[in-house]
């Protein structure tokens, strides 16, 4: 399944009409120990670049933005019990939410894994 990346360090994996969104390993490394994740409620309409979730490390709260337009279909309830999943498996079990895609063309503006790696290396 294709996976896309934003400059704000979110990843998006697309499976048909549904996208799964999380933060990258690079992002979790920058954030440090994650102690709380606030995922969006099912049914919330998201706008590309708008606030979607909040991740709290020991030190600070950070906003997570919607990578594309769409509607939330599911938040990852596993993060409520174990926020550290976002550290230990950010690009797998530590996903944040799933959403529909209103405009698939928006994916074209995101980076692929190779592009994202080059982007991080340059930071």
């Amino acid at each position: 399944m294709p996976r896309f990346y934003t400059e704000e360090h979110e990843w998006v994996e697309v499976d048909g009409e549904i996208a799964t969104v999380g933060i990258t390993d690079f992002a979790q490394g920058q954030l440090g120990d994650i102690v709380f994740v606030e995922v969006p409620d099912t049914g919330v309409e998201l706008t590309k670049g708008g606030d979607a979730a909040v991740v709290e490390s020991v030190k600070a709260a950070s906003d997570i933005y919607a990578p594309v337009d769409g509607t939330v279909t599911e938040g990852n309830s596993a993060l409520e019990e174990d926020p550290a999943l976002a550290n230990s498996d950010p690009e797998g079990e530590g996903w944040f939410f799933r959403m529909t895609l209103s405009d698939k063309a928006q994916l074209d503006g995101l980076m692929d894994s190779k592009g994202y790696k080059a982007y991080c290396d340059a930071l």
Binding site: I23, L31, D33, F36, E56, K59, A61, Y65, P83
Partner: protein, 379 residues
């Protein structure tokens, strides 16, 4: 992803200074951030691990950004007592005391440690306000008092249950100190100032030594199995768990010592005699209670409640959070804030507002984690 604690865009850009151990921190893998005008290590391996390490072993903190001053001259005791509410006259040589630099109206300009070093008084002040403190002292001290800023001295803090054993192997004199005692010693030919103190709630020491000696001393400590370098992030979570206020966050010039729950810093004799800045307001608050008070708060659930969050009693906004975060040793979020004194009893149920949502908080007794100061030799 974006950090919501943005820099103040209106702040004047001043070049960030480097600490004498800057290269040492970077070589140890520290992530450096700007704090109090310096590049400082926020963390090495991670705040959680570093915090827990300090509670169980010994953590080495670089607090060289703090201001080290000393005062000497005829009448130095009286001159100091005119600016702080502590009993300086009763402070014996080799003893130190927590005190407060007070504005004319009794507001807190800084919290500081004052040490009777025999021939002079040593003062350690917060890094973020040290230049203001120096200006205030110069303005208010009589001409015959000499104020020295020891800007060639660094300051390290070694904190945790294994701190005494580790430090004693380098500086045997450390073993003779108990909490809030000071001694001058030497290490490899360098004169160092040593006190059994710190700001983590743990047993520990603060060590003042010349810049030139810092890297070797830090290396000698970190060569021991029990000692790891610890960043500012864990220093903040440790002091929050210890119920200790942080200047510029939990204390500021609008707050007096009684509101700040620092009544203990107003010594008995000074309560009777007064004669410190803002004495009328402060003694009035001691006698009749202050309108508001700093309290500890336990937080329901896992979502941290941070500085700036409003505190509610029912629908009424009654106060504000001044420090808050996740407490690694408690395993839950905790906070500090100001509430009306009538709502400051331990067990009072309140709420804090985070991102438009109400979170239940309860006034808690502090410290959240018991202090482990060593008060008697051999204890």
């Amino acid at each position: 992803m974006s950090d919501t604690e943005d820099m103040d865009e209106g702040a004047v850009a001043i070049e960030t200074a480097t600490l004498p151990l800057d290269a040492w921190h970077r070589a140890k893998g520290a992530r450096m951030v700007e704090f109090a005008g310096y590049w400082m290590p926020i963390q090495y391996e991670g705040i959680m691990a570093e915090h827990l390490w300090t509670r169980e072993n010994a953590g080495l903190f670089d607090v060289s950004h703090m201001g080290q001053l000393n005062l000497s001259g005829d009448g130095v005791v009286e001159a100091l007592e005119a600016l702080v509410p502590g009993d300086i006259a009763g402070l014996k040589p080799g003893r130190m005391r927590y005190s407060l630099l007070l504005a004319e109206d009794g507001g807190i300009l800084d919290d500081l440690m004052i040490t009777n070093e025999g021939d002079r008084f040593g003062i350690v002040v917060n890094g973020a306000v040290k230049w203001d403190d120096i200006a205030h002292l110069r303005e208010h001290l009589p001409d015959q008092i000499t104020l020295n800023h020891l800007d060639e001295q660094g300051l390290l803090a070694l904190q945790g249950p294994k701190a005494a054993e580790a430090l004693t192997t380098l500086v045997p004199a450390a073993a003779d100190l108990v909490f809030m005692q000071f001694v001058r010693a030497t290490w490899q030919g360098h004169e160092i100032g040593l006190s059994r103190s710190g700001y983590t709630g743990e047993d520990g020491f603060e060590i003042s030594l010349p810049h030139a000696a810092l890297p070797a001393f830090a290396d000698a400590l970190c060569a021991m199995e029990a000692v790891k370098p610890i960043g500012l992030g864990a220093r903040d979570s440790l002091r929050l768990e210890a119920g200790l206020p942080l200047y510029g966050h939990d204390l500021d010039p609008a707050i007096d010592p009684v509101e700040g729950d620092l009544g203990f810093a107003i010594s008995k004799r000074r309560r009777e005699e007064g004669g410190f800045p803002g004495a009328a307001r402060i003694l009035g608050h001691l006698a009749d209670g202050a309108p508001r008070k700093r309290v500890g708060l336990s937080v329901d659930g896992k979502m941290p409640v941070r500085e700036g969050a409003k505190i509610f009693d029912g629908e009424e906004e009654v106060g504000v959070i001044t420090s808050g975060g996740f407490a690694p040793s408690v395993g839950a979020p905790i906070a500090m804030g100001y509430v009306p004194t009538g709502l400051s009893e331990v067990g009072t149920a309140l709420a804090a507002e985070v991102r438009g949502k109400r979170v239940a908080v309860t006034v808690a007794s502090t410290p959240f984690v018991p202090h482990k100061y060593v008060r008697k030799t051999g204890a």
